[in-house]
């Protein structure tokens, strides 16, 4: 909210600069966005929080400053007192829609242009001048926080000579042409002000064009009301008509303040418009029944963390307009009528501490019993896997949780979670996997980086539920599938998991170079080269990717391995070189060899040449070792023959 500094000074005798005042306000009351110079004045831009609706007015901020600086508040405080001879007006109100509705008839008005001071203040506060009648409502709203609406009484009378005003919920299909000339469709739940001919205003949001005040207006029905904040907010948002007035209606408004501000605006109508008050009606709660909130010394101490003297607390509260009674245990406090936010002892304690100064709150260390802190497996493995991948040359990325419609051709929309209110077409659907996000990362970096390794450990949102996934992608490497498979196998080894791989058809993966990753019977993810139709679409080099369900992985992972005894007898090493077609499984052959003898202690691929042609050459290194004796060449030769046979029967060809 924008408040001209000179306006504040009308109510409280401020001697400090606008900047100093702004700084004090921000430390004690509400945020200050800034202080701007306009002409000879300065304007404070305040960021009023929901709980402090009372500060959406010059008077409210002046009151707050008076409390901070211990200064008296100037200006009028009388409430409007309707005199006896006023003619009654017909108003039908529903208190669930409007806690208080008042209507005042002002007659014999004579138009005049708005004074320079009022105009310039309205402009400084960010509002524009319309005509005197409307300007006065806005002016008093800015000063007192209570919105008003002026109807041209003559125009209403033309529609409904009985001037029967009703506050009601809009009917299905009801329409109204608002001040801005647009036809608005209303729905049930919108509050309208209506006469017998229909709606004449959308309560708290905008008046109707048909009953608008103008320079020719001589008689006004002036509305001052408190509407249901939730309904006002819903309607204003739906119609895109949020205004200074609707904003104030969304906050707490005080009936007492309504009567005070009504007094003020009627004075102005009399001063500037020479009008005469001829009718009045009021339906609803005219004053707030005072209520008290108790603040015990114990409570105050528990909030502050230190014992503040109650006498001091009492003074702070009184400065803020509370009525306070002291008792042995603490204070009984009656909040001022304009503070709708004070309900519980904690609210009162906050008031005391604000004026005491938050900077004076002493630091107090945490003193507590030490409890068992459960170590989360997921957390533990998150760290281990991250450092494992970083050690293997991967850069960690974090990407947005959405998939853009540019990749939608590769996805079926019905399989995705869609946002009701997406920000843009790029962020309309939630991502079902990490692959597409990772491909976008490659696209961003290629060809600046012609090869690279990236991974992400983040949530994905498939329809079955959100899931923490680990995705890794490499591009521009010679054997992407085998390189990445090696990385995943290593992660499996660190987690003491036996990962098994089975060929699989996956939409996004290469038709042949793709596998499902399993631990026992549980599928934990997939690994494969990215399908050529995707790499083409993204204009990327060959890439391989794996994506695993990290929640499952971490759950299955074992931190502690088990020691296998190391034999005291020497080992015998043998190399086996052979070729094997790509149609035959090397993993199967290795498994067969490994299980062909209990004397095989270790088996590893010493060398391999995976060509694009069908045959690859492979050299396996086998370590034979017994736990009972040193092995001789007689022990080895039958095993060697067996291995040779296995290689041949698996479709391999021995090389000399």
């Amino acid at each position: 909210m924008l408040i001209p500094y000179s306006w504040l000074k009308e109510f409280v005798n401020l001697r400090k600069s606008a900047e100093q005042v702004a700084s004090n306000l921000s430390l004690v009351s509400v945020g200050v966005e800034g202080v701007q110079k306009t002409g000879s004045d300065k304007v404070l831009d305040l960021d009023i929080t929901y709980n402090r609706g009372d500060l959406l007015s010059v008077i409210g901020v002046a009151r707050e400053l008076a409390a901070i600086y211990e200064l008296p508040l100037k200006g009028p405080v009388e409430k409007f007192q309707p005199v006896e001879h006023l003619s009654p007006l017909s108003v039908k109100n529903n208190v669930s829609l409007s806690k208080l509705y008042t209507l005042t008839k002002i007659s014999e008005l004579r138009y005049k242009t708005t004074s320079k001071q009022i105009k310039s203040r309205l402009e400084a506060a960010g509002m524009r001048s319309v005509n005197l009648w409307a300007d006065l409502t806005n002016y008093v709203m800015l000063e007192w926080g209570q919105p008003f609406h002026a109807f041209d009484a003559e125009k209403v009378g033309r529609r409904d000579p009985s001037l029967s005003i009703e506050i009601r919920s809009a009917k299905r299909g009801e329409k109204i042409k608002t001040l801005d000339g647009l036809d608005r469709d209303l729905i049930e739940g919108d509050i309208v002000i209506a006469d017998k001919a229909g709606a004449i205003a959308i309560a708290g949001v905008m008046g109707g064009e048909e009953t608008e005040v103008d320079e020719g207006t001589t008689e006004i029905l002036l509305e001052a009301a408190i509407f249901d904040p939730i309904s006002i907010r819903r309607t204003a948002r739906r119609l895109g008509l949020r205004s200074e007035a609707s904003n104030r209606f969304e906050h707490f408004l005080s009936p007492d303040n309504l009567y005070t501000s009504l007094n003020k605006i009627l004075q102005l109508y009399q001063v500037y418009g020479k009008g005469e008050i001829t009718g009045f009606a009021s339906v609803g709660e005219r004053t707030t029944e005072p209520y008290s909130v108790g603040l015990t010394h114990d409570k105050l101490t528990r909030v502050a963390g230190e014992a503040l003297p109650l006498s001091k607390a009492r003074l702070y509260l009184e400065r803020l307009g509370f009525k306070v009674m002291s008792s042995e245990k603490g204070l009984l406090c009656w909040p001022p009528h304009f503070r709708g936010d004070i309900r519980i002892p904690e609210d009162v304690a906050e008031e005391v501490l604000r004026l005491h100064g938050y900077e004076n709150i002493l630091s107090k260390p945490i003193q507590t019993t030490l409890e068992e802190v459960r170590e989360s497996k997921q957390e533990d493995w998150r760290d281990r896997v991250t450092s494992g991948l970083v050690g293997n040359g991967f850069s960690e990325v974090k990407t947005f949780p959405f998939v853009s419609t540019t990749v939608l051709t590769h996805l079926k929309a019905k399989d995705l979670l869609r946002l009701k209110n997406p920000i843009s077409v790029e962020a309309e659907y939630l991502r079902p996997n990490l692959l597409l996000s990772l491909l976008e990362v490659v696209k961003r970096n290629n060809p600046r980086y012609s090869r690279g390794r990236v991974f992400e450990l983040e949530k994905i949102y498939p329809k079955r539920g959100e899931n923490l996934a680990l995705g890794a992608l490499i591009w521009g490497e010679k054997e992407p599938f085998l390189e990445l498979k090696g990385v995943l196998e290593e992660l499996g080894r660190q987690a003491h998991l036996k990962l098994e791989f089975f060929p699989v058809k996956e939409e996004f993966l290469h038709p042949v170079k793709a596998v499902e990753v399993r631990v026992g019977r549980e599928r934990i993810g997939v690994l494969g080269e990215v399908h050529p139709h995707l790499t083409t679409a993204f204009d990327l080099p060959e890439a391989a990717v794996f994506e695993i369900d990290f929640e499952k992985f971490a759950d299955l992972a074992q931190k502690w391995g088990k020691f296998t005894p190391i034999s005291a007898y020497p080992e015998i090493l043998e190399d086996y070189s052979f070729t094997l077609p790509q149609t035959r499984s090397l993993a199967d052959l290795i498994d067969k060899i490994r299980s062909s003898s209990s004397l095989i202690r270790e088996l590893e691929i010493k060398d391999r040449f995976e060509t694009k042609e069908e045959n690859r050459s492979i050299t396996l290194k086998v370590a034979f070792q017994s736990e009972e004796k040193g092995l001789s060449s007689e022990d080895i030769s039958p095993l060697r023959k067996k291995i040779h046979k296995l290689i041949i029967s698996s479709g391999g060809q021995l090389r000399s």
Partner: protein
Amino acid sequence: MNIVEAESKALEEIGQVSSLTELEETRLRHLGRNGVVNQLLSEIPELPRQEDRKSAGEIINSVKEKIEIALERKDQELKRKDLKEIDRSSFDTTSPGISPQIGSIHPLTEFREFVRDMFSKLGFEEVYAPHLEEDEYNFGLLNIPPDHPSRDLWDTLYLEDGRAMRTHTSNMQIREMRKRKPPIRVMTFDRCFRYENVDPHHSHTFTQFEVLYVDKDVSMGQLRFLSDLFLKAVLGEKTRTRFRPKYYPFVEPGVGVDALCPFCEGKGCRICGMEGWFEIAGAGLVHPQVLRNGGIDPKIYSGLAWGFGPDRMLMIKQGIDDIRYFYEGDLRFLKQF
């Protein structure tokens, strides 16, 4: 060749040797399996007389010994010479090292580990809550009923099924309170989402860190303690903290935590936008109604919630001028960390 010739030839050759490899070759030529000395030894059986065979054997063996001694001496000499040569050799030690092929850790992950280490020492346990959340946990049970005007504090993204993309990590509060008994000390470092266009200073996806501490006698004093401790650890000893009133429906009192700009020490500079202070964290004492919603009796217990935005904090600390770098996967950015 006779034995005398063999001896003098061997000793001469050894004398001329200038490297260890040459010396080995020379040894093989003379003492190897097919060397001169073995040749001569193999001829011994051809001698007709027993005495001749015996004395020839003795002579050849003594020659062999002499050659071995000469070889040994030469070997020592050459090794000494090699050591001297190492002294004279040169190598450019300023040449940059060969880079290991390692990747990079995301700055937010690095920061998460830092923050987590710090708070786990104070006994806080890391927890997670869903990103796609029921309205109740994100709003309702935190004192923010539907259509309540205070919802304007959060521009929310909703799914078609009615769930919200959580707007803050505070959706963990009720879940954790219902799961645990005081004292409760939990923390979370995770993503949140808002309806916001992406620009250098805003992002619809961002990160929050939040702690929740529920115990007997939790007060504003401990909020100050945590704020001081944490902000000094991150921004350095030169910073100070300050509280301002701030409204969040789920705390009472609510405070905004500012940190004194460590770069200008409050004088105002480009980094803090001439303010002298950074708005860093939001905090407060858990609202009694929220405690009750979490199944905790506010007559016995009180709690504090304290949170900040790691993206913004890192931007300040590391001089990152655009929040989008965190989420775009640009290796030119990532490889700096």
